[in-house]
Symmetry: C2
Subunit: 148 residues, 2 copies
């Protein structure tokens, strides 16, 4: 499965919320500006993440969004699943049944698609948002070293 633009926006939004962990709700506008995301599109995305229980929202003045869990307990896989569905490389392996396949359940390729899907899952589920924030800080530190 391709990582859609929407999922990338979602990742960046959650990443931005993680960087501001503990600073109270962050407005859509701020996230959008910090991460170069079309604001009205980001509305939809954050709403979807909220319905999935990944973020919480506060309305009214001084409202905005915040993570409902620690960034160290949110995996990239979760963000991806909430924004683009199950992580699988073919329709026939992600769903519940043997649909859209002329060889219902008895397909030579199914094990291959399943191995590929599990490989993807293991990468995405094995990386947390906190990992990503940490990696950025490390790299930034490296850049500072250079500049000294």
């Amino acid at each position: 499965m391709i990582i859609t633009q929407k999922s990338q926006y979602a990742m960046r939004a959650v990443f931005e919320l993680a960087r501001r962990e503990g600073c109270g709700p962050v407005k859509i506008g701020e996230i959008a500006e910090a991460q170069a995301i079309p604001p009205r599109f980001l509305e939809n995305i954050l709403n979807q993440l909220r319905q999935g229980g990944l973020v919480e929202s506060r309305r009214g003045k001084e409202g905005g969004y915040l993570l409902s869990r620690l960034a160290s307990e949110i995996s990239a896989g979760e963000v991806i699943r909430l924004t683009q569905g199950p992580i699988c490389v073919a329709e026939c392996c992600g769903g519940t049944v043997e649909e859209r396949c002329p060889f219902h359940g008895d397909c030579v390729f199914l094990p291959l698609w399943e191995r590929a899907s599990r490989a993807l899952e293991s990468v995405y589920d094995g990386t947390t948002i906190a990992d990503l924030v940490g990696q950025e800080m490390t790299r930034h530190a490296g850049a500072l070293m250079y500049s000294i």
Copy 2:
């Protein structure tokens, strides 16, 4: 990246050619019937595989297609690349440059997408068409065992 219907057809077509290795050219119509592929669509696909050097064609009566290499030397990854391009999970990691990304080359997520892409590649490039044929024969043998 999702495995498109076209790639799945291509896999099945190559698989069918592999099963008939050494039996001379196989007609589009036969492959289409054996693997439940729309014949006119299969034309396009086989043509593409031929241009990629994976299969050869014979025209005229008794014409058809045959593998240009042993099935044990054709990987699933090759078939996929010929029919749907480079194996990568995001535009920003498959192409040559840092395009379509607002953080040109300096993106926190790039390493993640690259790890995911390499995981996919290792699955697809590590499986040959001969492996798949072998797996089907094994399973068929198992079914026979049951019926005895």
